[in-house]
């Protein structure tokens, strides 16, 4: 079995695999241009060993020359893509140098195809057989060196300078440390293959063409660096997702805090009435001649207040109960009612009237009740804050439910001052807020929640001035 054939085929296969790896990376990240460029580089590099192999076994001068034409083209493609891929990865590399190298190769390729012969030899005089040390026969052409060959030779000198210069200028930024494998790969490649090719062409040294081996290392280094980067990006994504989950949890806790404050106040009223009544009853009973009618009245009041406290708890529990599968289809009207019932007292305390306008026969929407209620609660709390902070004369929060575009829309509108144009779109971004004591995460999380349910959360100002938040959710067709 021929060792030359084995080595060249293996290099071709390896380059092909690396090309596929780059194609895979590109598929998952279409925006990064270094992936397709590296892919072209690897696939062109796959062609080189195959051409080298054929050249080495071709005894016919015309056929030999033909193969060399194509070999020069593939070498050009690989070198030009190395130069540009390096620039993508190492932005400190000089653009004009990359352009110069590309231009030199364009001239070279034009010469290669348009002038007689190829870029290496303008005329092949003879194809001579040689022997490897282990006794395999191969052929090398001799001929007149093309007067334009310097264009290609110059790039062999320029490319390592270009890479080293780029790396040197990047030494202060982290780029170099991450990408030095590529730079070393390029320098090594030129040191090995450049002199070999030049000496070979000048007829000073006899070996088969083997630049493909050096190319292989460059492509390996590119793939190595890019794959490493992809892995890092994946880890970063994971971290971001974790942070977002954590933030959502904090927001939820924060909102639970507000709910708890409301709840404490609500429960406190009946509790305080019950305590007062019970202690009054004790005193009345301690009298000589207790007035039993009075005691009866007191007991009735205690029972009524106890029921009132129970209703508050029941409301809250219904509102916060965990989603079960049957809850995946939510009736918007009842969901909204539950939230408004819960908020009613607090709103009344601040002189705010809440009005619900619901269309009849709204289609049920997909999504968890708790999720929708969480968003509604947040929007109503926001509206309340807006009205109180602006000390608005008219204190109304309107909640409208309507059917729209194959789903249902909830509008929460307040009679506050509205939201200034310049803040409006940024309002959904994290840490943007118009409130004095707020983290600015509420709406960000709300939008996330609604989008997770396949809906939209948008904002517009009313003609009367107040802000109007619109939640659209798709209808459920289970």
């Amino acid at each position: 079995m021929s060792l030359l054939v084995t080595i060249w085929s293996m290099i071709a296969a390896a380059c092909g695999m690396l090309g596929l790896t780059q194609a895979f990376l590109w598929w998952h990240n279409r925006k990064r241009m270094e992936y397709p460029i590296s892919m072209v580089m690897a696939f062109s590099a796959m062609a080189i060993p195959l051409l080298e192999m054929n050249v080495a076994f071709s005894a016919d001068a015309a056929h030999h020359g033909q193969l060399m034409l194509w070999m020069n083209l593939t070498v050009a493609t690989v070198l030009v893509s190395i130069v540009w891929a390096l620039r993508m990865i190492l932005p400190t590399a000089r653009r004009w140098a990359a352009a110069l190298i590309t231009a030199l190769w364009i001239v070279g390729i034009c010469v290669n195809f348009l002038l007689p012969g190829n870029l290496t030899f303008s005329e092949i005089l003879a194809v001579e057989p040689h022997m490897t040390r282990w006794g395999e026969q191969y052929f090398i052409a001799t001929g007149t060196i093309n007067p334009w060959k310097w264009t290609a030779d110059l790039t062999v000198l320029l490319i390592p300078l270009y890479a080293i210069d780029g790396a040197w200028r990047a030494r202060k930024i982290n780029h170099f440390r991450q990408n030095r494998a590529i730079v070393w790969g390029i320098v090594l490649f030129v040191l090995i293959s450049g002199p070999q090719a030049i000496l070979l062409d000048m007829g000073l040294h006899q070996t088969p063409y083997a630049i493909s081996l050096a190319f292989f290392f460059v492509i390996l280094s590119f793939t190595w660096v890019l794959a490493q980067e992809a892995v890092r990006a994946g880890k970063l994504d994971e971290q971001i997702a974790r942070t977002r989950r954590e933030t959502e949890r904090v927001i939820r806790l924060n909102m639970m805090g507000e709910v708890a404050a409301t709840l404490a106040h609500e429960i406190n009223q009946p509790l305080s009435a019950i305590l007062g009544n019970a202690q009054a009853a004790e005193k009345f009973l301690a009298r000589q001649d207790p007035d039993l009618d009075e005691i009866r009245e007191i007991l009735a009041d205690i029972v009524r207040d106890d029921k009132r406290a129970r209703d508050i708890i029941t409301n809250l529990r219904r509102m916060l109960r965990e989603d079960s599968s049957e809850d995946q289809m939510a009736d918007l009207e009842s969901v909204t009612h539950e939230v408004l019932d819960f908020m009613e007292h607090q709103l009344a305390q601040n002189d705010i009237s809440a009005q619900l306008h619901a269309e009849k026969n709204l289609p049920p929407v997909c999504g968890g009740r708790v999720a929708i209620q969480q968003v509604l609660l947040n929007l109503i709390l926001n509206a309340e804050h807006a009205i109180i902070e602006a000390d608005a004369a008219q204190r109304v929060i309107e909640v409208r439910l309507s059917e729209k575009e194959g789903g249902s829309e909830i509008q929460v509108c307040d009679s506050g001052p509205g939201i200034a144009e310049e803040v409006r779109e940024k309002l959904f971004e994290p840490f943007v807020t118009t409130k004095k004591r707020s983290l600015g995460m509420g709406l960000t999380v709300c939008r996330q929640i609604i989008e997770n349910q396949g809906g939209r959360l948008t904002l517009k100002n009313q003609q009367s001035g107040g802000a109007c938040f619109q939640v659209w959710l798709p209808a459920c067709t289970l």
């Binding site: 404050a261 404490a264 106040h265 406190n268 009223q269 009946p270 509790l271 305080s272 009435a273 019950i274 305590l275 007062g276 009544n277 202690q279 009054a280 005193k283 009345f284 009075e294 007191i298 009041d301 009524r304 207040d305 009132r308 009344a348 305390q349 601040n350 002189d351």
Partner: protein
Amino acid sequence: MHTVTETVFIIDDDHSVRSSLSRLLRSEGIRNECFESAQAYEDRELHNGVGCILLDINMPGISGIELQARLLERGHDLPVVFLTGYGDVSSSVTALKRGALDYLTKPVDEADLLRAVRHALEFHRLVLAKTRVRDAIQARIDALTPREREVMLLLITGMPNKLVADRLQIAIKTAKVHRAHVMQKMAVRSVAELVHACHLAGIEPGAEFDR
């Protein structure tokens, strides 16, 4: 003589809380009246006996703090005991700074409530008594003629008749007559008592009468 009824005014928007507080006070024999809002209380005619206000901080419309400010503005002297649902530190500080007598958090225990209410009533009783004495003395002072007032002001600095006559450029005899009138109209038997009465009315030795 009118009978002084000690009354506690309960102002709370929550019906249950209101009636339970009312019962608790009634069980101790403390007269009380209930109001569902600050406005309802303001609509009532002024109470001129001993009393105090049990005031809920958190109410729709005029809040407890606002009512307290309005009453202060109008020179109301009923002491205020605040009731609140949850420990809101900033509003309690405001309330106490403006002279609220006490601050109770709901649910309030009977013993705390009664102690606060009794203390407030006692406080107002003292305030009223002081005011009544002051009003009586003021009435007597108002009955003096301008000349007699001048004489009185000099007397309470410790001047003998001769010096008073000198200062006012009148005869000693005339000064003595004025002095006798002052002592009689002010219902005092000695200069010491006169000084004390003037002190209660807010007049200190060396003061000038505004004519």
